[in-house]
Assembly symmetry: C2
Homo-oligomer: 205 residues x 2
């Protein structure tokens, strides 16, 4: 296996397989096939076999995949066999919702700080967190060696905030602001923009 | 142009172009090139030209694209030259955030109803909306001829709720529940799951 050579598109499918396998495991299922997994995720069995085989021989002809084993392997490949510290920038409605979201820790992430520049929000308690001043963002990110940020701020300030985050050492940004971000090649961005996602479907209506 | 033949992957990029072009228009820019647009969205100029040319000759060699014209064309192609009624199912933190989100109407969508099955939430006011009982979901969707739903409910009830929605006429689901949904071929699903999006990036860290 040569990690450098795995196409991005395959990497984007692995978390979907991981989630479906975890779902099966939660229901007590111990083994699965590429056919069954494919039905769960809406991807062909052949594609799943091809994707997974990029990383080694994790299944057996006839008996399929051991779910606990494949879960371990996928977590290892995706590096979520550990807990990543994540910050949220923006304590509006979406920032609140994310700060209170219970679905992160099981899947490799822990929200450790939330920031805002609004004096009315700084100091507010959200779950276990207290909203911190964005003025301290770079320093806190750097001193805590945090690599992942979720941006829930207005589009107008998203690029300048990203520039600061990248300078402070952030390498992965989950961007909820409805704007494309420019980042260096070694920084990854994923986009969550409900209007964009809806527009991907209206074409077909 | 044969709409049937445009690959899905191209359709998924159009809303990103649309968003960037709108951003430029908001800043008073009247014309752009595939190069400039490409820098905004992180996609090659050649890819952009190829994608857009699937739908007609919207640009001119040398002078590039008229932004207002291309905006009109993209909105028409994506069918967001109108306002789609959308419902939210699930009035938790995420449902609240979406119900209060200001970024929909400019981009073709209007949230018209929000539902929950929790008696403590039914009747609650969120912005201009009042949380309605999920028991009335199918009837309301059908009688209002609504085609688009956003699901912000737990994964455990997402499939059964989707089945009901599809039966009532929903053709597009934006799913925030962390689970893959099975739907008929004529129904589209887009997924927003922050943990999955984060896991697409940790591989590279």
């Amino acid at each position: 296996m040569n990690a450098e050579k795995i196409p991005d598109i395959i990497i984007t499918r692995l978390p979907v397989y991981l989630r479906a396998l975890q779902h099966m495991a939660d229901h007590g299922v111990k083994n699965t096939s590429s056919q069954e997994l494919g039905e769960h995720v809406g991807i062909s069995a052949a594609q799943i076999r091809k994707d997974i085989s990029q990383f080694g021989e994790f299944g057996k002809q006839g008996t399929g995949y051991s779910i606990p084993y494949l879960l371990d392997k996928l977590r290892e490949i995706l590096k979520v066999d550990r807990l990543w510290d994540v910050i949220i920038v923006g304590a509006g409605d979406m920032g609140h919702a994310l700060a209170r979201y219970q679905g992160f820790t099981d899947r490799g992430f822990r929200v450790v700080m939330i920031f805002d520049n609004d004096p009315a929000k700084i100091g507010q308690q959200i779950g276990d967190l207290v909203v911190e001043d964005t003025a301290n963002l770079a320093e806190k990110v750097q001193s805590s060696d945090i690599k992942i940020a979720m941006l829930t701020i207005p589009a107008t300030v998203a690029q300048e905030t990203t520039d600061k985050l990248v300078k402070a050492g952030i390498k992965a940004v989950l961007n909820y602001a409805p704007i494309s971000l420019n980042v260096p090649n070694d920084v990854k961005v994923q986009y969550i923009d409900p209007a964009t996602h809806l527009q991907k479907m209206t074409y077909y209506l």
